[in-house]
């Protein structure tokens, strides 16, 4: 009997865990909305652990085809052999299938999700001429980042209404301090400073920035600090660098970092 791995570290922000588990028990599909780096993927991992289901993650890209999800025939010698795609595997095994950034997927690909996402919970496999009923425990979870565009308008209305939406934001400062301290393995005071810097950056109207400082970059900065870099060096590399390529904006961010973080060794 293999030992169950520990639960991925996730701190609930609101009632998202209850909503997810309720939707899971009712066989509803779930859409997670939220900015990048706010913990959507970690949340799904934690939920899969709690519900004791395998998790199959597919990172969607714009050349993802239906066959990539469902499966395809390959030739082995003189015979054809069917190979299940990740979605089919999840449907057969009753796993949680997590389509990360589903908005990136090609539109003809997302169509295959429609009968799965609504009450039918079926996956028609056209090439095999069969329709698979989802095994108990199967759950379709998609995520997207409502930055520029919404995938929901690409899904059928009927499907959209059968999806349960959970909206994520960045956690409140005290929760985020806990998360950063825990994930990066730094002491609480350092985490407080980092979170405060992150809060200030998020207040900027995003004119010069593509995205604001996510929990993820704060953790990355924290981990650099844990490795012995000075807080300022760490924040420049992990926060200012990834957020912008623009020299003026970088200078402004560096200035903010210098104001918020002390410049001594951790």
């Amino acid at each position: 009997m293999p030992v169950k791995p520990p639960r991925p570290y996730y701190v609930p922000v609101a009632n998202e865990e209850q909503v997810f588990k309720a939707a899971f028990n009712q066989g509803l599909s779930i859409v997670l909305k939220g900015p990048t780096g706010c913990g959507k993927t970690r949340f799904v991992e934690a939920m899969a652990h709690d519900l004791d289901r395998p998790l199959i993650t597919v990172s969607c890209h714009d050349d993802l085809t239906t066959a990539d999800l469902v499966g395809r025939f390959l030739l082995r010698g003189g015979d054809t052999e069917w190979v299940d795609g990740p979605l089919t595997r999840a449907v057969r095994d009753g796993a949680i299938c997590y389509l990360d950034e589903v908005v990136e997927a090609r539109q003809d690909t997302t169509v295959v999700l429609h009968p799965l996402a609504d009450h039918r919970r079926q996956l028609p496999i056209e090439r095999l001429g069969i329709t698979l009923d989802a095994a108990p425990g199967f759950c379709l979870v998609v995520s997207y980042n409502p930055g520029y565009q919404s995938v929901l308008k690409d899904l059928k209305d009927s499907t959209r209404q059968r999806m349960v939406a959970i909206t994520f934001g960045f956690p409140s400062p005290d929760v985020e301090e806990k998360i950063v301290a825990n994930e990066a393995g730094i002491d609480h005071d350092r985490a407080v400073e980092l979170v405060r810097l992150g809060q200030a950056i998020r207040r900027l109207e995003t004119g010069g920035l593509r995205e604001v400082a996510s929990t993820r970059v704060l953790i990355a900065a924290g981990r650099l600090i844990a490795e012995g870099l000075s807080p300022r060096e760490a924040a420049r590399s992990a926060i200012a660098g990834p957020l912008t390529d623009d020299l003026t904006v970088t200078r402004g961010l560096v200035e903010m970092i210098d104001v918020y973080l002390a410049d001594e060794q951790a």
Binding site: Q149, K153, E193, A200, R203, G252, M256
Partner: protein
Amino acid sequence: MDDEGNDGPQRLRLLASALAGRNVAVAPARPGEPAWTDGMTVYVDAAAVRIQQVESVMVQASLLAGGGLEPEVVRRLVRRPALARRYLAVEGHRALSANEDLLPHTVRSLIDLDLASRATSPAESLTMASARGHIPDPPASFGVIRARNVLSANAATAHADSQAAHVPRREQKKALADLDDGDEGDDVTDPFSSPVGGGGALGKALQHLMSRVRQLGGGGPPGAETPTHRSHRGIRGGGFVTSTATPPSDLDGFKDSSDDGWKYPEWDVDRRRYRPDWCTVQEIEPPVQPDSMLGRPDVHSLRRPLTRLGIGLDRAHRQAQGDDIDVDAAVEARVELLAGSAPDEAVYLDSLRRRRDLAVLVLLDVSGSAGEAGTFGETVHEQQRAAAAALTVALHELGDRVALYAFQSQGRSAVSVMPVKRFDDRLDSTAMRRLGSLTPGAYSRLGAAIRHGTSVIAEKAGTSRRLLVVLSDGLAYDHGYERRYGAADARRALGEARRQGIGCLCLTIGAGTDQGDLARVFGTAAHASIPKPTRLGDVIGPLFRAALHTADLRRRVS
């Protein structure tokens, strides 16, 4: 990366914006002068030590965030420096402590918690300051409150706003400060705002000048008196030279029955019906000035996102990998194998994007507001023009059909659309010169321009995937085309275009305002705002793709 930075206090701009909760600039004050703000720019002494600069910025930005510089409070401080000083001492601590969660440790020690806890709002701070009790002087790094400067900056924005103007470039203030011109105090140079549009002396002078000119003109249709852009006053002050393509301001001279021009209906949101044949659109050859050649735009960053767009899917046979087995190839391979020769292993069918099948029409807003100073020292018009050039060239080089039209208007009977490059024109130096010759001026009637663009695409594009790209800096105004009415009409026009399977999207470049109106008209999924043209590559991929998706869906439904 050097710590000090060599470009003065401007580098604290992000910090100030973060603390104020909105865009605020930072500029050097005169040497030895205490820090102050006019509500848009925080001035700090460049010669001061760094920590004091930081503290000053924090205090002034917190004042802005806490509402301590709202006109209703500040008005009572005019010409009362002692009161202003006492007010700053109380309100500065209060605003800092209200913003405490955002402040770094080093600055939090600055807060006098006792003082801060005694007031809970700017009004209470003012009451405390007016009372007799002892109030310690604020620390030197707090700077000063310059009531008159705050009010005059406020007045400039509020004034423009109150007249149903174009989305102003700066934070709007609710109250309209009544301020006589004698109050125009020391004219500190403000490098960040337009010299003619802002609250500066020149802007004031032009405003006065222009209001007289407009009255002399008189006799226009209702709404003709309404300025559409704050900067118009300045720009139109040049003697109407800006709208070379439009007829003179005698609107009635243009009869609806004139032969040339296209007639388009307009949606009347109040009566909830169309006004048939309401707008007349003229296609006018833009003037070409000889020295107006634009340099080749940098299209490198655009090429990658655009390459993937608008390409039809093709079934490709005999691929090494793919979705399906290519039965013919598989049988052949099997036969070859049985015959003893080496089989070809490419036996799959794949869907590949190959065929280019996209037509794009770019509509460039050349109304007067685009002449305003934008970010990074160029006017909005220059930035929009650069973006239009980059988009057109990039799409053209990829083999897409692309057209570029500019538009402006003077009332409903004189909507001018200037073809810089028609779908069938060559993209040569003449076209680039035409683009370079465009001068912002007049107003814009977005709905009519969209309808004309739609009909041009529908007739001339000849592809199944079609896009209409509007480059504009804010929601348009025209005679009898106010904000709400114009927004409803433009939304309607977009709906008409989308029903024909034409994807629509809007880009705002360089304008530092909130473009909420445009985003509401186009939908947030079809509108993006970027600070400068070089950032185009970041947004057009998803934007174009989303617009094409929507259009595809509509086309399939219909």
